[in-house]
């Protein structure tokens, strides 16, 4: 771990300005991801800006009848919020399927969206990894890739985004609210927030340098049955091999996002009209142009079958 300077930010705008101004600065929220990566020398910020004291930890109802979730709301609090449980059950279920109670007590909304991949080669600084060291190559290609992406991957990187929460957010059409270093605010639809790896897998989101997440907003509730199904080898405390986040209406229409299959929460709106026709049809659209490796090809069948089980559960 490199020595670093630590500072508590006083306002969101100041935090953003400082982060843009200071070379190698990073925000720290719960620290459950960033600190681990710093200990392993995967992240080497020389400057940490603590954003915990910025009063960004409120959950509010928006004038449109939706919800505004502060960037610093802890995962535990968000999952337990009555309105979330009633109107956005998908989100609550996804969060409770992730990590452990202790971690969720620390983990924040923004930090969860920005957590980095669990590709094991990313975690071993002896190995080539374009995400960690751009241009060094991708050890996972041709290596151990059981948990890696099957859609939207590139020759440069086949990593997945590990979050459960973000998959639910994607299905719920969330919007990420930020403040930029010049003090202006902007809204980024979740669909555009995470990027595919392309040639630049080290650039993971649409955030500009120094840009601070202040909140995530959800549109007004859409009703329907909210099902989050996380598939994993061990029963708890494991990242998803794949996950299915679905909101299914009485008439069989609905929306679905997938975790564990791509560099971002994966949703293909064009495939959703096929949901009433069943899992096979819908997953064909969701996973069109899949490029699995030999080790993770099973994910295609797994998605189809899991979606099938989710649709059955929704009908029941």
């Amino acid at each position: 771990m490199k020595p670093f300077t630590y500072e508590r930010a006083r306002s969101p705008a100041e935090a953003a300005a400082a982060a843009a101004r200071i070379q190698g600065a990073r925000f720290i929220a719960g620290g459950t991801n960033l600190l681990d990566l710093m200990k392993l020398q995967i992240e080497t910020p020389g400057y940490l800006i603590d954003v915990n004291g910025l009063a960004l930890d409120k959950i509010e109802t928006t004038p449109e009848g939706g919800m505004r979730i502060g960037a610093l709301v802890r995962n535990t609090d968000l999952a337990a919020d009555d309105r979330v449980r009633r109107d956005y059950g998908l989100l609550s279920r996804a969060m409770l399927a992730g990590a452990s109670g202790q971690l969720r007590n620390k983990a924040t909304t923004a930090g969860n969206l920005l957590q980095r991949t669990r590709c094991p080669y990313f975690y071993d600084t002896n190995q080539p990894c374009n995400k960690r060291r751009p241009g060094s190559g991708c050890a996972a290609l041709g290596g151990f890739s059981r948990q890696h992406a099957v859609v939207g991957a590139s020759e440069a990187c086949i990593a997945t985004h590990p979050s459960d929460m973000a998959v639910a957010m994607r299905a719920l059409d969330a919007t990420v609210e930020t403040v930029r270093p010049d003090g202006s605010a902007r809204s980024i639809p979740i669909a555009e927030f995470h990027r595919l790896p392309g040639d630049t897998p080290h650039i993971e989101t649409a955030l500009a340098a120094g840009e601070l997440i202040t909140a995530v907003t959800l549109p007004k509730p859409v009703g329907g049955k909210h099902i989050y199904r996380k598939v994993r080898d061990r029963a708890s405390y494991a990242f998803a091999l794949i996950s299915v986040a679905a909101v299914i209406q009485r008439d069989g229409s609905g929306r679905v996002a997938l975790g564990g299959v791509a560099h971002k929460p994966w949703r293909v709106e064009a495939a959703e009209p096929d949901l009433p026709r069943g899992a096979k049809a819908a997953s064909a659209g969701l996973l069109a142009d899949a490029t699995p490796t030999r080790e993770n090809a099973f994910k295609l069948l797994l998605v189809e079958r899991t979606l099938g089980a989710v649709l059955t559960e929704a009908r029941a």
Partner: protein
Amino acid sequence: MKFDTPATTNPIDQLKIIGKPTDRIDGPSKTAGTAPYAYERHDIVANPAHGYVVGSAIAKGRIASIDLTDAKAAAGVLAIVTAENAGKLAKGSLNTASLLGGPEIQHYHQAIAVVVAETFEQARSAAELIRVDYIRAEGAYDLAAAKNSAAKPATDEDPPDTAVGDFAGAFATAPVQFDATYTTPDQAHAMMEPHASMAAWDGDRLTVVTSNQMIAWGARDLATTLGLPRDRVRMISPFIGGGFGGKLFVRADVLLAALGARAAGRPVKVALTRPLIFNNTTHRPATIQRIRIGATRDGRITAIGHEGWSGDLPDGKPETAVNQTRLLYAGANRMTATRLAVLDLPEGNAMRAPGEASGMMALEIAVDEMAEKLGLDPIEFRILNDTQVDPEKPERKFSHRPLVECLRMGADRFGWSKRSAQPGRTRDGRWLTGIGAAAAFRNNVVQKSAARVRLDPRGVVTVETDMTDIGTGSYTIIAQTAAEMMGLPLNKVVVRLGDSTFPVSAGSGGQWGANSSTAGVYAACVKLREAVAQKLGFGSADVVFADGEVRSGNRSAPLAKAAGDSGIVAEDTIEFGDLDKKYQQSTFGAHFVEVGVDAATAEVRIRRMLAVCAAGRILNPKSARSQVIGAMTMGAGAALMEDLVIDERSGFFVNHDLAGYEVPVHADIPHQDVIFLDEVDPISSPMKAKGVGELGICGVGAAIANAIYNATGVRVRDYPITLDKLLDRMPAVG
């Protein structure tokens, strides 16, 4: 004390304290955090500096150059030790690869340097400034590819091959034949406490506080490695946060703490970081196993053959996965063969029930498959082929072998009769459910073991032995033994373990620890009883030790009185004659498991487990049960998730942390029962006990595999049984 004839009645048989489910005497300090572990023994080693270990970035080759300039200049750095400046080092007799590599590199993450600094953070940050140029060499990392080059291992312990009768002929002519190949992956001990040591020099005397299962081996090998006379090294390891065989030997933390302390001129402590442990230390090697069984149509085995392949570094050891097949089932024509390939992966070595754990995972699926082929109930097939003698040497009887009782009792308690013999027929909502069983078998080994007991004027008996407690309950059963022998309550016994200045014990390994070490304490207590009787002038024949008193005829005296002002000390060693040659001593059991397999995703979730064990006298049913359920849990991990994945291009275990190497969590283990058969085995020791710590893992993986088959009709012969191996043969969804 020489133990060479079966035990007769002795004070242990009173069972006033032995055999009771006593809470662990170290439990309160464990739960209160006052049982100190190696890394925190600042009471023994004051003001230690911190060492951070650097592991090799390549699996095989050479270090062309190491540049320490920047690291040496970093804040707080006191010393950096590499093979270049470490001085001459030898290799301990139990290490395969060198603990400090360079210039030659033998495996990935082999230690190549230790950076010593004032703080841990400084040492770690400086370590990252070390620049190493490597020259990579080609290595062999794939067991399947190396299988054909595997050779008969040179070993003086077990013979690699055995043959009785005409296996080939009998198998070829058997009316029913079965032939299949199974694989088990490399596995990690993944104990909670990392390997950690503190070292302090006083002139040429070295004291290390460490986490080690075998103190005498450790002190000897450390002295050898450093070129010191044995008596200059003191090793202390009173509390150990899990070992499972991963701490049987001196590892890099011990050596580098010692070298770092010498270089820095100050005590040093070193813990291996979690990502380093998987490739730096030892692991259970992967196996390929071919099993052939021939039987008559009514289910009698006429031919049984088991071949096993594993790999290790040059001069390493095989995984003896075939050995239990020499003993478990009857059959006139038999063969076993162990072959060892050279692989350049990290060192393979013992992990909980080496040999049997892997061997039973394969054998007990094969037996299930053969039973199905014969149209027999798998339990009945096992019972039909039971043997009460060593099938390779029929003149040798088992000391005691209630395998059939274990199977029958387990079947009864678990509800085996409700199992559908047809697989894939039972459904509970979204779950396909199934029941599976397997025999459990693990040899019982006895080892010479010594102890010293001291009776003080307060009437307290203190036991000292270099035995270790790796979380198993050694403290407690040793205290129970001394209390029973001396007629004292438990709170009048003090137990001190894990110090090389104490008499040499059996140590913790191969499930020999409990029986052998308590037998050593028994021997020392017999001497102490004699000394007490003599001191009191009691005739020793009729002396009774009870309720803190010594009685003889109508005379009695408090035990404390015999101690006088200076106390009485007695020391003895239990040494085992050839009873273990005359009789085959083994432990037996039966595992029963019910699983649910998600019909859509093929996720396997265990619903309940039962083990029925026959392992001699159970010294403490509570700690014994903990051992068995822990082993069952570990077996569940082996069956369902544990897999050190090899990158065959660069030759290392990729998933080298606890996020990547999954072991079961609570949610994976819903319900476990353990039943111990009421048994004493006077042939094993004066304690009449046997090992139980490893029995619980042997066979459980196969019971799970058999349950999965019963649930789904899908046979998986390659562990771990993850959902991707079942998925395409699961029923249609919806």
